[in-house]
């Protein structure tokens, strides 16, 4: 059996590290093989997700940020200040949340997927030309976001001018000052050299980039019981690996950036400074709730309860 597995990122980035762990586990514990298709080889996220849905490939990494057109409730992952800002709580939440492993997993089932894992890829930071300490500092800033209504509303609420732009133009547009800011997880800021064209990194804690590992359901259901368990074990093995790998990944990326560009400004907003951003985020919830209705509200409430539980578990 050869499992074809497509990613949204390059092989050396977080999804690639996860997929490599998954592959090694499967190949060490069975006769099956895993072929990884990194970003760009089989199309964009929307294409590879659909490809896995139709059974063209067996597995795919599909970020909820992209899959929102399929399952609207997944937009909850784009909402600012929903996911816990503390990394231990975050990991525990992804490990244990019934909302993820039952509710959302069921929604993936409806769409022909078996959800094998969901994991955080790192805190989303803003990189800008001017320091950002409050929403006022974002006034008049053309901020590049993906074309998602939630993300557009988020940066509108934060006071910026959201500017959707294809990823290929972002570097040049920052260089030419057409835009003055963009957001991404730290490792991506480092690997795509975004720091070369911006001068300040701001940790606002408003989000953590999340991704889901999905298998085609027909394929998964057709596997023997042992093979199904093997797939789940491999997914958990890779999950724990990636959580550990991420400890310090943000820090390591930051170190590399500061080495390349010592004058880079780094701001970690204090709890107090985050407060006005949290306030602004409230109106984005309204956009989300209007878009997703009762199902969306249930997921959001479920997240809040699960996060409380995770916080309590970590505190023990």
């Amino acid at each position: 059996l050869d499992i074809k597995y497509a990613l949204e990122e390059a092989i050396h980035e977080v999804q690639g590290v996860y997929a490599t762990q998954f592959k090694e586990y499967i190949e060490a514990n069975s006769d099956h093989t895993v072929t990884i298709f990194p970003f760009g080889t089989l199309g964009e996220s929307a294409d590879t997700t659909e490809l896995a849905q139709m059974g063209g490939i067996e597995m795919v990494t599909a970020s909820p940020g992209f899959t929102g057109s399929l399952i609207p409730e997944l937009n909850v992952f784009n909402l600012p200040y929903v996911l816990p800002e503390d990394t231990d709580v975050l990991a525990e939440f992804f490990r244990s949340s019934p909302t993820i492993h039952e509710t959302l997993a069921g929604r993936y089932n409806d769409q022909g997927f078996e959800m094998l894992s969901m994991y955080p890829e790192g805190e989303v930071v803003m990189t800008t030309k001017q320091p950002v300490e409050s929403p006022d500092d974002l006034a008049g800033v053309n901020f590049r976001v993906m074309t998602s209504p939630i993300l557009v509303s988020t940066y509108e609420a934060f006071g910026a001018t959201p500017t959707p732009l294809p990823w290929g133009e972002v570097f040049g547009a920052l260089q030419l000052n057409m835009i003055q800011g963009q957001e991404n997880p730290m490792f991506f800021v480092e690997s795509t050299n975004m720091y070369e064209v911006t001068d300040h990194i701001t940790f606002t804690g408003h989000n953590n980039f999340t991704t889901a590992v999905l298998a085609n359901k027909t394929f998964f259901d057709g596997l023997s019981e042992e093979d199904q368990q093997l797939m789940r074990d491999a997914a958990w093995h890779a999950f724990e690996y990636i959580i550990e790998y991420q400890e310090g990944l943000t820090e390591a990326s930051l170190e590399m950036i500061l080495e390349a560009k010592p004058e880079m400004g780094v701001t970690r907003l204090t709890d107090e400074q985050r407060e006005p951003f949290r306030q602004a985020a409230q109106q984005v919830r309204e956009v989300y709730l209007a878009e997703t209705g009762d199902a969306g509200a249930a997921v959001l409430e479920g997240f809040e309860a699960d996060i409380e539980a995770a916080r309590a578990a970590v505190a023990e």
């Binding site: 294409d47 490809l51 139709m54 990823w167 057409m178």
Partner: protein, 429 residues
Amino acid sequence: MAQELATWMIVVMVGLLLLGFPMMIPLLAACFVAFFLYLPVGPEIMVQQILAGIRPSALVAVPMFILAADIITKGQSATRLIDLVMSFVGHVKGGLGIATATGCTLFGAVSGSTQATVVAIGSPMRPRMLKGGYKDSFSMALIVNASDIAMLIPPSIAMIIYGVISGTSISELFIAGVGPGLLILVLFSIYCVIYAVRNNIPTEEKASWRQRGKALVNAIWPLGFPAIIVGGIYGGVFSPTEAASVCVLYAIILEFIVFRSLKFSDIIPIAKSTGMITAVVFILVGAGAAFSWVISFQQIPQMILGALGLMDAGPTTVLIAISIAFFVGCMFVDPIVVILVLVPIFAPIVNALGIDPVLVGVIITLQVAIGSATPPFGCDIFTAIAVFKRPYLDVIKGTPPFIVILFAVSISLIMFPQIALFLRDLAFR
């Protein structure tokens, strides 16, 4: 299996192509071979990839630039630009020739395709050159080859498509095309002077500064196009797609309101023809995306590169191989199809060697432009046959010196990439 599939795909594609099928069919039929006989997935994926091919939002710039160029081709902008150039260079030896080449360059700053440039500049300039004592073979060869410059000077449809399928910044590609474009203009102009001296072509009357001032005033409006595109993009005002739509607005204001050269009802047939050309290009982009999906799914590029011995080659060898492949391809097939088929084949090695994708894009665009003006089957030649109503042999008779010049530029570009990258680095690094 991949080898057998690759062979069949090439046989089907080349065979149908040579028989004269519409060019989407060779691409689609090659995909059918793969999906029906070899791949574990159904042709629905092919449909998905056709859609994925035309989905990127940057592609919207293509119909917008075509529409803007279509509007001004029907209006007065081209004539005003030509008058401006003539008032400055008309009196020098070879002035008409230089004016034709410069006209192609200026018009190319609005238009993204060489074929539109052959029509817009070639139609008015050829009779003038004939009257001015130039041989028809020289005039036509100059027009066909100088129109190459339009593909290198922004905007450029070839560059937009290369940028979209390779994920390269279109803004950077655009500015990197300016250097080689101007270099070709200078070399062609020098050749025009030599030609005029050797053939004793009489010079035109020298325009007075007053006439020049008047021509400049008349041309101020059309000169706004390069200001919008180059100024707008590099001033950090617009993305390339936004610049394209602003050009449409500007073209409408210019030709419909300021010059009043078109009636508002004229916009309908212009939009219709833009839509049709867009469809013809985009169905190829879609079919090309399906084709490139099939070959990457089967890892065919690595196989072909390996067979050509390019997997261990150095950057210069790879760039030469790319130049040759694109040049030869465009002698036979439409440039867009060549870009769609060959870019994914060379992508793995370009990425592996870390060659600047902007440099690769400029080299490809140059080869594509040269190839389409080169006998036997370069498509600009057929445009010229259609527009000038002259037989094939007359159209190609004067091309050799121009092709020699373009070869020299190709070699210089590989040896001195700064010709292309200088302006890009100035703007972006």
